[in-house]
Each structure stands twice: as structure tokens, then as C-alpha cells.
Symmetry: C2
Subunit: 453 residues, 2 copies
């Protein structure tokens, strides 16, 4: 139980991602009370979402309850709820938990609300091309991907079968590349022997990007290596290709040559861009701070909101020195503002600018293939892949599921299987054709008295 | 690819549970083609569902794609679909895959469609008290159970908080007992330190049964031991108690003394009874076979349908010699009818009656506590629990996730945590208050541009 008699400095943290949790942990021994608010119950290792979507890991392997992460930190409490407003004058955040609203006062506020998928003005694309930002996204995609192979196996019309076996990944940043690589490996390797009427290895995996290259943030040598690896695995790459429409049966694109092109594909995955949380706009409106093009809040060098030294914006929602939206920026900025708060609590008002130390970037392409840059070093192939494996495992420090991740990786990388391939009944009936019409959710499924077979 | 030129004897199996899969495997070297039809993509180890519902195991740990189970068996193909009719005269089964219907011809038919939860004429109870028969059920319950603790932590009203912290399990057979035991262990042990405003150990776990005792199928000594173990863990047991109504906030019951009683409980779980697949009625109507009280088909001693030696009914859908609805009956009857089919294919028309060899029964109560009977032996405590652990692990033979199960068990039994505690955004918004009103599914969640926090 939190000490509720002595009124201590109250730090409210909005968001339980890398930024929010790092800040909370760094405040562990500080004489403050912490409230961390998130609309999900879990702290998510987002860079591993593609492995849940493709059946290697379970959702629990990469998502741990925030309150479990902070279980041994008595000065932190966790609240399930969505923050929809911030009152900078009276210093309150407004939360909504499934319809019930509350105002929570703060002395210091850390806004680490992150970013969601951006559809660049076409939110209607989301229905047919889910993004890759949440556990819900990954489970939805898992159902769609494995469901597509099921439908293809059953389909008699060759064109429709081809459509079920075509997977388009939109956006060739690390997430898109990792997903396309996994889809290729899944179809060429993991599903071997599973089907009788189709050869899953004939699945077509298409990777699109509007920009002139894949993995724009990597140097050319590594990009070339990644392209070669992907093509070796049978991934079709189309750069300079803009998506103009997404529908149930495919996508339409626009590029220099050919001018217009359509890809017939049942499964579309959107990994094309991010847009900062709408809390950025809330803060900007209230404080006259500026937003950058992605909706991120331009902060002072110490990550504080202009004219509001008691409010900090960190991670993907922060616009500072053109830092990228990666987990390390979130983690380091979280720790930085925690240090500032600790100093202030001790009566020291000095602020220090946030300096980012880039520990390197990496992307995995498939089993035994990855690219990485650490400082001036460029690594690819097996060495980079082993590095990727170690770094990801380190991210799971303290995760109860770490053992389970290792065993699931053993199955997938040494064996050729994937352990986590469940499609729920809800997904089967929600997704195709009868959308919502029959058996709309698991509760209805439980009550249905239909045959198992 | 299946050999489609030579027309071989075609065995259709309805249902990919223990019965159907055992039959298919036993036909592995037989000169027959096999089509196994299920409405889910997975073969499920149902006796471990309670561990998914309470956050120990992931769904992939206990559910493996049927087509992966049969990947190395070229004479078997798997079809995703629901069987809604059987034409005994022309020898066809009618399937429906999300709205698309087909007729599949058979030479021999094995109906292993199993059973679903029975609400004894009150299907409306299902919405508030989900059952425990499918992966969807277990994931729904996982969201409700962990969600209830989240809501309790946030609740200010003591009565409402108490309601969120009360869990009622209806039905005290092995499933109900295992679930009640896990709920007690979860609240007393696994969640320790996770909350600041509530003490999860104060959760009230109520186990109800309409009959005069828990675990009616076990001998008295073991029942007494189980009752004592459950009470030690703080489980309230009420036998001779009938549920008369279930609503959002609790359940109403009827017993001898007190005559009427209400339990205020946010989370209700139905483990009270099973009812055979409606395919039982389909078969009975078409063949004039009889059904027993649970809707199971009364079969000939060799498990065949009366007057239809080419049709077999096995497992939970079969009524024969008052055999119980347990996995071993399904497995052994599946193998038995497969042997009959093999003999017939070899020109030998003799049939043999099915003889069940009872390998024993067991139920786990919590970590280190179980009861088991094997032959005339009665075991309880740690020895029974280790036996339970080994038998369950054997059930997972060939499961890719076996390693992952062992590691998840290590976390739960040696440590005190639970690795699989994800609540999806869809569940948070689907379940309480705003049911279906906001963010009705994962797709909508993906497109929502709300703040993460």
C-alpha cells in the first residue's frame, strides 16, 4: 500500500511503454509518489511484434503487465485508463476508464504517450490493412495470415487461391522488412508439409515503399545486403511505389513506371508510418508549443514543455534534434527527465540538456540473417543475427517469459516449426464474409451449441 | 499432394479433438484417404484450458494446428469448416466455411464432434458466465479475470470493489476444481505485490455445485482431501446449490438451507455440464438411433451407428456402457474404429466390441497438490501432482510448444509469477459498460488515433 498520509511530490506518467517505464524505474529511490497510466495492462516489447504476428512468440512472451514490472517498487501505482485531456493550469490529467472519468492531480508530469500507425489521411485503410503497433494488431494479423493459408487450401478458383496466397507489406522500414522476411520464411520453411492442395512456398510476399529505398535509415551497404537477402528468399520489392487505395481484394498503387498498378492480395499489412499521440495536440493547444510534421511536440533541450518546466514529453511523442522514434530514445529520455525530477526534489533547480547516445540500430531479416550498425561498425549475416538475438533478449530482462521466448526461438530457428499458430473462432467468423453477422464474439461462441467439427 | 488419380477408400473424420486425431493417426499406414474437418484450426489439449484462463500457459502451448499434427501423414488432409449436416443415404457430409457450403462424400465416416458447455436450458447465462471448452473461452476468461483485478484496484466504492474481487465457479467437476484452485493460487500467490489499493489475496473464490459433493466421479477419500486442500487455500465450497439466475453483478442460487442466496460477483465461470454436439441429433434423426439424456448417440458395441456399419461415433458424442466424457475414452475409441476400418479395407469384415481400459483419473488443485486414482491406487498431494505433471506433458507429445510449457510451468511453479497475462484492448472495451459501443474490435483499435496512455 502506498503511503497516503504524507503528501509527497506526485509524478504522473502517461504511457507504460519504453519511455514511461524507464522513467518510473529511474524514480524508484526518489522521494516521490508515481502514478503511471496506460490504456492497456501491459508493457510491450514492440520490436518483437512481428514474431507474434507470424506465430513464433506468444503475446505474453513480449507483453508483461506494467504492474508486474513495477511490483517491487512501492512508490509506483499503475492505473488502467486512457488520458484524454491535460489541464496545465490546475495541473490535472483527465482519465477515462471504459466510460468512467476522473481527474488526477500532478506535481510533475511525464507524457510518454507514444505514437500510433499513420495512414496518411486514409484511416479507412486500417480495416483492410491493420498496422503493427499493439498486441491486438499482432493477434489480428496472426489470424489473418494463418487464416489466408487455410482459405487458399480450401479454394478451388485459381485466381482466388492466388489472392489468398499473396501478402503485401506496405512500408519498408525495419518493421516492414522484418515482417516480409518472416512471411517468406513462414511460407518457404515453417509450413512445409502442412497442406495438400497448395504449396505454401508459392506464396507471394510483396514489400512496398513510397521512398526510393528500403530501410532508409541504414547505410547503403547494409540496405543492399538486406535487399539481396530478401530477394533471395523470394520477397518482391517495389520502391517508389505509393499506395492509392486498399480494398478487400487488393491494393492499388502509383509509381513512375508503371504509372498505375494493382496487387491482388487478401492480406495487407500497414507498416508505413507513425503519427504521434493526439495528446501532442492537446499539449500544443494548451501551451502554445509547436508540433512537427508527425505531430510530435517540440520540447526544450531538457525535454520539458516550453513555459512548463514541470511537464516533460519523451519518447516517440517528443520532437528534439530530429531524434528517431526508437526504443533507445524513449528509454534514455525517460531516464533523463527522471534525473531532473530527482534533482529538483533535492532542491537543485539546474537542468541539463538531453544527449542521446546511439547504441546502434539493427533489423532482422530471417533466421540467421540480419543487419546492424554499432558506431562505425556495419555487420550483416549470421553475426548480426546473433547480435540481434542477444539485444532482444536483453530487452526482456525481468520478463517471466524469457525462458519461454528462448524455447519458442529454439523451435523456430533450430527446428522449422512455429509454436503459436492459434486462430480463434472469433477471428474466423469476424474476418471474412460474414463480418459480425454470425458469432460476433467469443461469448457468443461459448453459447453456441453448434458442432465442434 | 494427395494421390488423386487412384480412387481409394475415403474416410471422413468430423472433429479434430482427441478422438478425431487419434483415429487419423491410427489410419496412417492404411490404404485410405482421410479428410478431417474441424471448425477451428487447432487440436486442443482441453484439460489444460484452465491454465490459459489463469495466465500460466499461452494458447499456442496447448493448441497445435491440426494440419501440423498430421503434416507427415500424406494420406490425411485437413479442412477448416463446420459440419452442419450428414446425408447417410448418399454418404455425404455438408460443410460450411464462413458461408460457403460444400458436400464431401465419404466411404467411412467417423463423427468425433465432441460436446459443448451445457447451460441446462439457460443459454442466456453464457454471456455473463462463459464456459471452459474452447481457446476463445479461455482467452475471454483470461481477460475477465485479470481485468477484474484492474477494475478492483481502480474502484472507490467498497461494495463494487468486493464484487470485482469475487469469482464464482459453477460446477465442481475436475474443470471447476482446477479453475477454483488456480484462482486461489493466482490471488494469494502470483499477484502479490502487484497492487497498491487492493490486496489481491482478499479475493473471494466460490465453488458451487448442484450435486451433493465436489468431484463426484472420485472416491470419498480423495474428494475429502480435495475439499480440505481447497478450503486451506481459501476457496468457499457450496454443494447442493443450484444456480437460478446469472446477471452482470452476480448470481442467484437455490439450496436447502439457505433457501435463496445471492452471490455478488463480477466474474462467473460456467463449468457445470456438457451437452453433446447437435450432430448427435442429426445422426439420430437420420438413422433412428437413440440419444441419451446428454444428447449422446447410443452406438453398437463396436462404436458404429445402428444400421450404419460405415458410420462411427466416438468420444464425447458416443453413448456406450456409461463411459465418461474423458480424453482417454476419445483416444481409445478413435483407435478402435480405425482398426476396424483397416481390417475392412483388408477384406476382413469382423467387428470387435470396444473395450475401455481406464488408465486412471486425476485432477490438480494447485501447485504441489493433486489427486489421482490409478487402478486401485489412490494418490494425493505432491506425488499426485508430479504424476499429473508427467501425464499432461505426455499429452503434449509432438507439440512444438512443449519446451515453452515447461518453461512457463517453471515460472509459475518454482517462481511465483504467471507469464501470460495479456488483456487485449478489444477485451477491455468489449466487456464492460460500453459493450460494442466504442472500439468494437482490434481492427478499429488499430485505426483509432487515441493516445496510448
Amino acid at each position: 500500500m502506498m503511503n497516503s498520509t504524507a503528501r509527497r511530490h506526485h509524478v504522473v506518467i502517461v504511457g507504460g511503454g519504453f519511455g514511461g517505464v524507464s522513467a518510473a524505474k529511474a524514480l524508484r529511490h526518489a522521494p516521490v509518489d508515481i502514478t503511471i497510466i496506460d490504456r492497456t495492462n501491459h508493457h510491450l516489447i514492440q520490436p518483437l511484434l512481428h514474431q507474434v504476428a507470424t506465430g513464433i512468440l506468444s503475446e505474453g512472451d513480449i507483453a508483461r503487465p506494467i504492474r508486474d514490472v513495477l511490483r517491487d517498487q512501492p512508490n509506483a501505482r499503475v492505473v488502467l485508463g486512457e488520458v484524454f485531456g491535460i489541464d496545465l493550469d490546475t495541473r490535472h490529467v483527465m482519465t477515462d476508464t471504459i466510460g468512467e472519468r476522473r481527474r488526477i492531480p500532478y506535481d510533475s508530469l511525464i507524457v510518454a504517450a507514444g505514437a500510433s500507425q499513420s495512414y496518411f489521411g486514409h484511416p479507412e485503410f486500417a480495416r483492410e490493412a491493420p498496422g503493427m503497433k499493439t498486441i491486438d494488431d499482432a493477434l489480428e494479423l496472426r489470424g489473418r495470415i494463418f487464416g489466408a493459408f487455410e482459405m487458399a487450401e480450401r479454394e478451388l478458383d485459381p485466381a482466388a487461391r492466388r489472392r489468398w496466397l499473396t501478402f503485401v507489406v506496405i512500408g519498408a522500414g525495419p518493421t516492414g522488412v522484418e515482417l516480409a522476411g518472416q512471411l517468406a520464411e513462414l511460407s518457404r520453411r515453417s509450413l512445409r508439409g502442412n497442406f495438400r492442395h497448395i504449396d505454401p512456398a508459392e506464396a507471394r510476399v510483396v514489400l512496398l515503399d513510397a521512398g526510393p529505398t528500403i530501410l532508409a535509415s541504414f547505410p547503403e551497404t547494409l540496405r543492399d545486403r538486406a535487399s539481396r537477402d530478401l530477394r533471395d528468399m523470394g520477397v518482391e520489392i517495389h520502391v517508389g511505389t505509393m499506395v492509392t487505395n486498399v480494398d478487400k481484394k487488393g491494393i492499388a498503387t502509383n509509381s513512375l513506371e508503371p504509372r498505375w498498378r494493382r496487387f491482388e492480395a487478401a492480406t495487407k499489412i500497414w507498416a508505413a508510418g507513425v503519427e504521434a499521440s493526439p495528446l501532442g495536440r492537446v499539449l500544443a493547444t494548451a501551451s502554445r508549443a509547436e508540433l512537427d510534421r508527425a505531430g510530435r511536440v517540440k520540447v526544450e533541450p531538457d525535454c520539458s514543455l516550453p513555459r512548463h518546466p514541470e511537464v516533460f514529453v519523451i519518447g516517440d511523442l517528443m520532437s528534439l534534434d530530429q531524434l528517431p522514434g526508437v526504443s533507445q530514445v524513449a528509454i534514455q529520455s525517460g531516464r533523463h527527465v527522471a534525473r531532473t525530477i530527482v534533482r529538483r526534489a533535492a532542491g537543485d533547480p539546474t537542468t541539463e540538456p538531453f544527449r542521446y547516445h546511439d547504441p546502434g540500430t539493427m533489423a532482422t531479416i530471417s533466421r540467421l540473417r540480419a543487419i546492424a550498425m554499432v558506431g562505425t561498425m556495419r555487420v550483416s549475416g549470421v553475426v548480426a543475427w546473433l547480435l540481434w538475438l542477444c539485444v532482444r533478449l536483453m530487452m526482456l530482462t525481468g520478463f517471466k517469459a524469457r525462458l519461454s521466448v528462448v524455447s519458442n526461438w529454439t523451435v523456430a530457428f533450430l527446428g522449422r516449426g512455429r509454436a503459436q499458430r492459434v486462430i480463434t473462432t472469433q477471428q474466423i467468423f469476424a474476418r471474412h464474409a460474414l463480418e459480425g453477422h454470425r458469432r460476433p464474439n467469443a461469448i457468443a461462441a461459448a453459447s453456441a451449441t453448434n458442432a465442434r467439427g
